[in-house]
């Protein structure tokens, strides 16, 4: 049977050598290598559940009066987009399960990418020849965040609308071209013409997923070409790669990971409520709710918008640069710009242009570990500032005080983190203590 299949393919495509190479492809074993895989498998779950959702969702801003199963909203004016999301949740068998699984998968997807990125940066896997893949991966992260935003903006619930209003304002705030672009995308002034919803829909279900799938394919092809990095160890050199072969053990373990990711996401989707749009209600430009929290990966942008002092650039009573530009556009551009240029920055600092296949442990290069920690702590402080209204509410701190606290923290914390991390890494390197087990 197997022989027949192998021969069938080989006679027609000459695949036997390729198949042999594939089955014996070597994967170095380390748990951190699974983070990227988790992201990949979350993407698979997103595509699968997304196709299902697209069969039921209607991307239309046409007005209807709700008459469906969810009693509290019966008789309310809403758009078809909102109504079809309600119907999908309440009247389609298994619809809510897949909608919630999709939403959870988006959250896990971005989280896995960020952790994967941290692994790459902390272990020096970003050095030549993998700087190429750092750029592709960073692009994928940006696309994933945008894709998530586009996704939760679709149902036209109150949270969607508030998010879109802010997105519109950020686009509008871009110097020179902002107003044109915003009017172009929305087909007019916010909340825009009917065409906006189908545009958002096609962007979310077609354009970005296609681009992402292509980039993921290139990302993986580059890995196959360059082969994985590996941690140093007996028999491991810059010139070889040591690990499990694909067949049989690794294939089974990786399949297991795919199934586990799908299983956990389905359990979350079934048992833990997420984005209950019927509680938010339909969006109107004239309504807003307090304490609205978007998906976590938008938090750093909210935080930046909130922390930004009321700075605007005016000339002769005319606005040049409105405030949302700084927190909503400049800040993410800065963060992503630094990520893109990190391989070049590191080469600049170390003067090291060699090809690297062996990974460093984070402690091995204290300055790098400290720099990356400082950078991410900076983003993390701004991220935390995105939830300062919740903090103010639950811990009874003054909101104004918190704003000032976070403004100061966004400068001080990265500095402290830098020096502390550098010290700790150097110490660990010297003593060879294990940071968690505290033995040798």
């Amino acid at each position: 049977m197997i022989r027949r299949a192998v021969r069938f393919l080989d006679e027609r495509l000459g695949t036997a050598p390729l198949l042999k190479k594939t089955l014996q492809y070597v994967f170095p074993d380390h748990w951190t290598f699974m983070l990227g895989e988790i992201a990949l498998y979350a993407f698979v779950v997103l595509v699968a559940t997304g196709i299902y959702l697209a069969l039921f969702f209607e991307p239309s801003l046409a007005h209807v009066t709700y008459q469906g199963d969810y009693a509290p909203l019966r008789g309310h004016e809403m758009t078809k987009a909102f109504q079809s999301t309600l119907d999908l949740s309440f009247e389609t068998k298994g619809g809510l399960l897949l909608r919630q699984t999709h939403h959870w998968a988006a959250n896990v997807f971005v989280a896995a990418i960020v952790l994967h990125l941290l692994r790459i940066l902390y272990t020096g896997a970003s050095r030549k020849p993998r700087d190429l893949n750092v750029w592709i991966g960073t692009t994928l992260l940006a696309l994933a965040v945008f894709e998530g935003y586009a996704g939760y903006s679709l149902p036209d619930d109150l949270l969607s609308g508030m998010g879109l209003a802010i997105g519109y304002s950020v686009l509008l705030s871009l110097p020179v071209v902002g107003a044109w672009l915003a009017v172009l995308v929305w087909g007019g002034q916010f909340p825009g013409k009917e065409v906006f919803e189908p545009r958002l829909f096609i962007t979310h279900v077609f354009v970005i997923p296609i681009v992402m799938a292509t980039l993921i394919a290139i990302h993986l092809a580059i890995i196959v070409r360059q082969k994985h990095t590996q941690f140093p160890g007996p028999g491991r050199t810059e010139r070889n790669v040591v690990g499990s072969t694909l067949w049989p053990s690794y294939a089974l373990r990786s399949t297991s990971l795919l199934l586990a990711v799908a299983g956990v996401l389905l359990l979350l989707g079934g048992l833990v409520q997420i984005n209950p749009i019927w509680l938010y209600g339909p969006y109107h430009t004239y309504s807003a709710t307090n304490g609205a929290q978007p998906d976590w990966y938008i938090g750093w942008l909210i935080g930046a918008l909130r922390l930004m002092p009321p700075l605007e650039i005016h000339v002769f009573g005319y606005t040049l640069v409105p405030n949302p530009f700084f927190g909503g556009a400049l800040f993410p551009l800065l963060v992503f710009g630094l990520l893109y240029s990190w391989p070049a920055i590191e080469r600049r600092i170390t003067g090291d242009h060699a090809r690297h296949e062996l990974l460093d442990r984070p402690r091995d290069v204290p300055w790098r570990t400290a720099t990356i920690s400082a950078f991410f702590s900076w983003v993390a402080v701004v991220f935390l500032a995105g939830s300062q209204d919740q903090v103010a509410l639950h811990f009874h701190f003054s909101y104004v005080g918190l704003v000032w606290f976070f403004r100061v923290a966004s400068v001080v914390v990265p500095l402290v983190v830098f020096f502390v991390t550098r010290r700790v890494a150097a110490e660990l390197k010297e003593t060879e203590l294990h940071p968690l087990r505290l033995d040798r």
């Binding site: 950020v170 916010f190 040591v242 359990l267 079934g270 004239y286 918008l305």
Partner: protein
């Protein structure tokens, strides 16, 4: 992806038959019976969970039941694969040489080949410049159609449904009786006959004591009886300014203000919508109000500034 598919295919086919005997001379690997039994057990449980999902789908399609059963089926299958991968099948370690990526010699050759193609061509620089220029202008030409909404933008963004005498109505299109608004209350109103979703439509109307008012000089008479109206759309990033803080205590309390829940820009109600906290860069535009013969609220003109988020060129 392809090699994964092939691997999955081979995996699937491989499961159907017992493995062939190893060639003689190699030590025979003892099967791990316990791990095999555990894998079987997990596969059986996964089957049961999947069957339960189907049953629930027909009998009681509750999201919790569906999610728990299907999720469990996946997790059990994952566990089966994990045990099989770690204990049932042999662990084979491989060592591979890495490919040499650099080809210094070929690099030179490529450069030479490219140079060869330019042999005997004069004025190369000129061609490069002209070619680049053509490509650049071509790009600009392709982008130009996008400008068709360009000159429009300022006009589109500056439209307003408000004018002198326009009646204020509630969400249900009922006129608003001035005397019905009490101090401390916040009313959302719209221009009668206009699209309520338009960013320039919604306004908030509150009543303050006339002696509290501290409006700019050119807005005298904009707030009859202390009834004062502002655009409801935040000048920061377009959220609805939906919270109202009216102090009913002591003289040291901050004055009445409206707050936007998105990034907490706070605008003073008595001082013409001045921003007193938060990231907004412009004041909340004020709508001049008047009371008509029937005691209903009407607009007495357009806003004091453009409502909603700002853009390059909007008047402050």
């Amino acid at each position: 992806m392809k090699r994964w598919l092939i691997a999955a295919l081979v995996l699937l086919l491989g499961k159907l038959r017992p493995p062939r005997a190893l060639p003689p001379g190699r030590p025979v690997r003892e099967p791990d019976r316990r791990a095999e039994n555990l894998t079987f057990l997990l596969l059986l449980c996964a089957m049961a969970a999947a069957a339960a999902f189907i049953a629930f789908y027909f009998a009681n399609p509750d999201t919790q039941f569906l999610g728990a059963t299907l999720g469990l089926a996946f997790v059990l299958l994952a566990a089966a694969c994990l045990v099989a991968g770690k204990r049932v099948v042999p662990q084979i370690e491989g060592v591979k040489e890495r490919p040499e990526l650099e080809h210094p010699f070929e690099q030179d050759e490529v450069v030479a080949v490219i140079a060869e193609g330019g042999e005997g061509v004069s004025r190369k620089r000129f061609f490069l410049l002209a070619g680049g220029g053509a490509a650049g202008l071509m790009g600009a030409a392709l982008l130009t159609p996008a400008l068709s909404c360009g000159p429009e933008a300022n006009r589109v963004l500056s439209r307003s449904p408000w004018n002198r005498g326009r009646l204020l109505v509630t969400e249900l299109d009922e006129p608003i009786v001035a005397a019905g608004i009490v101090v401390g209350e916040l009313v959302t109103a719209f221009p009668s006959g206009a699209d309520k979703e338009d960013i320039a439509s919604p306004v908030i109307v509150v009543r303050v004591r006339p002696d509290e008012l501290d409006l700019p000089d050119d807005r005298r008479g904009w707030a009859p009886e202390g009834l004062i109206g502002y655009s409801k759309i935040c000048t920061h990033a377009g959220c609805a300014v939906s919270e109202y803080r009216y102090p009913s205590y002591g003289p040291t309390a901050p004055g009445p203000a409206v707050v936007c829940p998105c990034h907490y820009s706070t605008f003073s109600v008595t001082e013409g919508g001045k921003r007193i906290f938060g990231p907004a860069g412009r004041a909340l535009p004020q709508l001049p109000l008047a009371i008509n013969g029937d005691g209903q609220l009407v607009a007495d003109g357009d806003f004091s500034g453009r409502p909603g988020p700002g853009w390059w060129g909007v008047r402050k």
